[in-house]
């Protein structure tokens, strides 16, 4: 039996608006897909999940029509299942491990996770059991998946939690980066709303490090979790990159997703133009290119310096992008931009793959004399980010040479009482890893508070 397809909106039509692409399984489709599961004695899918969701159990519950229970099983290990079901790179995690993948196609674990999470959300979710207040208070800096997950667990453990967020909206990359057609803001808002109901306080417009320092927060709270994510977009460092019309994916996506620049009555502008070139091969590049089409570009092309096989983006995004009319150009790397004030052309050099090295990986190198120029109206650069620099001067907080914060296995930094997790520790990674790190740190913080270590600091 083949994998049950996710109902989705038609490619060219959906490329005209920002409504969600995937429509979600119905009850029948979910049961149909769940019954494909072989219920392996040793569920390798669980090993494939970075946070160890009991996939076999929840899929069995879906197959039986016990949707609420399925929701509860997922929620024990994943505090953001409606998000992860939509954006996890399942093909290299749970679904990549699934034995059905060798026979036909893997169980659609991501779609099923999304199904049970959306159902639970529709009903208002689970009421967390009330825990006796611990009397301790924790500050969370940054409201991305790491911060939200940490806040949820700490609150459940009875601690007072305040989340400090620099922007005017909570959610981190989930609201300013990942577009609405892939992850509706309503999903993130529901999660934030649930935390507020649990008593978590959100202080927006609070850039920690410029406003309160971490030490100021320690005067007011008993522990601190830092989840400030990635910042500082990388550029190509080639001539002409500062021309008007060349922008980072973060800027382009933030203008559209957070500031609504695509709306006709928008207060915030965005440069789109007719011919859009996007540089990169990850999820960010694909989000930018598909957003460009939706925001009115006539043609939108991804230029990636390696081949399609090496693209780090989710496979579903690549397929969706093609269906929507996105062009892909591989083994091409920009070496400069031309134009007077506004960018008009992009010069690229053709790349070739080298023989696999000792690690089996093929690298790429430029082919001399193979430069070509293409006309462009705007360019979006999506070649990664360096860690957020806002807390770099914090005393006693050890940072790596790359600028990431150094922690132990539970997320404790060298500064007593201060924990960190997510992209600020790992460098740009995934939602699920950030969420997992936030949860681990919540356990670490709880143990730290209850250990009496706090008294020694005071």
């Amino acid at each position: 039996m083949p994998r049950t397809p996710m109902p989705e909106r038609e490619g060219r039509l959906r490329a005209l608006d920002f409504e969600e692409v995937n429509l979600g399984y119905t009850d029948q489709l979910a049961i149909l897909e769940a019954t494909r599961c072989l219920q392996c004695a040793r569920p390798v899918c669980v090993d494939g999940c970075p946070v160890g969701v009991k996939i076999n159990d929840f899929v069995a519950a879906v197959a039986d029509g016990r949707f609420d229970e399925a929701g509860r099983i997922v929620a024990t290990d994943n505090s953001l299942p409606a998000v992860c079901g939509r954006v996890c790179p399942q093909e290299i995690q749970c679904e990549g491990a699934c034995v059905m993948g060798r026979r036909s196609s893997p169980i659609a674990i991501g779609h099923l996770e999304r199904f049970v999470a959306d159902r639970a959300r529709g009903r208002g979710g689970e009421q967390a059991p009330a825990t006796a207040p611990s009397g301790w208070s924790v500050a969370i800096v940054g409201s991305g998946p790491a911060g939200l997950a940490c806040a949820a667990d700490l609150s459940r453990l009875g601690h007072d939690v305040t989340v400090y967020e620099a922007l005017h909206e909570a959610g981190g990359v989930l609201v300013y980066g990942i577009p609405e057609y892939r992850l509706p803001t309503a999903v993130v808002e529901a999660e934030v709303g649930r935390l507020e109901e649990m008593g978590v306080v959100f202080e927006l417009n609070a850039p920690i490090g410029r406003a309160e320092s971490i030490d100021d927060l320690l005067d007011r709270h008993d522990a601190v979790f830092i989840g400030i994510g990635a910042g500082l977009p990388r550029f190509l460092e080639v001539p002409g990159e500062h021309l008007v019309g060349v922008q980072s994916a973060n800027e382009f996506l933030t203008r559209v997703n957070l500031m609504g620049a695509n709306r006709s009555d928008a207060e915030t502008p965005v440069l789109v133009g007719k011919r859009v070139a996007v540089i990169g091969g990850g999820n960010t590049a694909l989000d930018a290119v598909r957003t460009a089409l939706r925001a009115g570009a006539d043609s939108a092309t991804v230029y990636y310096r390696r081949t399609e096989d090496e693209m780090p983006a989710r496979r579903e995004e690549i397929r969706h992008a093609r269906e929507e009319g996105v062009h892909f150009e591989f083994l091409l790397n920009p070496v400069g931009f031309g134009g007077s004030e506004r960018v008009e052309t992009m010069e690229l050099v053709r790349m070739r793959q080298t023989e696999p090295g000792d690690d089996g990986r093929r690298s790429v190198e430029p082919i001399e004399g193979s430069e070509v120029a293409v006309p462009v109206d705007t360019v979006v650069v999506a070649v990664g980010n360096a860690p957020n620099p806002m807390l770099s001067g914090t005393p006693d907080l050890t940072m790596s040479r790359r600028g990431t914060i150094v922690t132990d296995e539970v997320g404790m930094t060298d500064k007593p009482g201060v924990f960190a997790g997510g992209d600020i520790v790992t460098g740009g990674a995934t939602v699920i890893l950030a969420m997992g790190a936030g949860r681990r740190a919540a356990q670490g913080i709880d143990a730290f508070l209850r250990s009496g270590a706090l008294v020694e600091i005071d």
């Binding site: 005017h168 927006l204 406003a211 500082l232 008007v244 933030t254």
Partner: protein, 276 residues
């Protein structure tokens, strides 16, 4: 501490220029001269940076001086006492370097004077001899002259049309000051051509010169790269590395071009505003 940004007073201090006292306790408590806020004048509005002129940490109040040039600043200037500003995020940016330098010339052009004032005051408090040069197109546009007189050792006023102070540009006045005495540092804040001219003037004299740049910003936390400027050939993010930079390394032309990125959009929005 969260979410209430009430305008406590709004006063017109020049043509299209308004002085606001805004309740913003977090900013007021942690702000240092040279830092700015990013605000939205209305829900769904654009995020724009504005430098803070003064702060009263005890009462949780900040002072902003706004020149109505674009859509957002004009909307802001239509607000009055008692109105709310939906978002004021800050403080942001790196504070000005305040040390004992010796003699410092602080130059403010137009509303740039509002940004220069707190720095001039802090430099004076740190023991520097502060010479301020305040320039404007015409006398109506001069601001904060009395306030500067209270903190600086010398205040020189220039207007392009000679309606107040000496006729001419701030650079003319600065050239005379440099000719008369040793100047250890120059700080120039104002329109880009003015800052570029000051920088060109002080370069041959090898006087360390600092300018406060005003690129387009979105988040103000080093996330978007929209505020990038080129300083001594390196890409810097004004919202975290600045806004103050070594003038002699700044590519002013590039910044001027980048600042015009959205001028078509601005013009259209302003035209629509006029129709309403």
């Amino acid at each position: 501490m969260e979410g209430v940004y009430r305008i406590l007073s709004a006063e017109i201090i020049g043509p299209d220029v308004k002085r606001f006292e805004v309740q913003a306790p977090r900013v007021a408590r942690y702000w240092k001269p040279g830092q700015f806020v990013i605000l939205r004048a209305i829900e769904d509005g654009e995020r724009i940076p504005l430098t803070v002129v003064e702060a009263d940490p005890e009462f949780g109040v900040i002072v902003l001086i706004v020149q109505g040039v674009g859509k957002t600043t004009r909307t802001l200037n239509s607000l009055s006492e008692g109105d709310m500003i939906p978002d004021v995020a800050g403080p942001l940016g790196s504070p000005s370097d305040i040390e004992m330098f010796g003699t410092v010339a602080v130059i403010g052009g137009g509303v740039g004077t509002a940004i220069a004032y707190p720095t001039a005051r802090a430099l004076a408090e740190a023991g520097n001899r502060v010479v301020t040069i305040v320039g404007a197109r015409t006398s109506d546009l001069l601001i904060l002259v009395d306030e500067l007189e209270a903190v600086a050792d010398t205040v020189i006023v220039t207007t392009d049309d000679g309606t107040a102070g000496r006729a001419g540009f701030v650079t003319d006045a600065l050239a005379d000051v440099i000719a008369e005495r040793r100047v250890d540092r120059v700080i120039a804040i104002g329109p880009l051509p003015m800052m570029a001219a000051v920088s060109a003037l002080t370069l041959p004299h090898e006087i360390p010169t600092v300018v406060s740049l005003n690129p387009i910003m979105v988040d103000g936390t080093g996330m978007c790269g929209g505020c990038r400027v080129s300083v001594s050939g390196e890409t810097k993010f004004a919202c975290v590395d600045g806004p103050e930079f070594d003038a002699h390394g700044v590519d002013f032309e590039l910044l001027a071009a980048r600042n015009s990125s959205y001028c078509e959009f601005e013009r259209r929005r302003l035209a629509e505003m006029g129709e309403k």
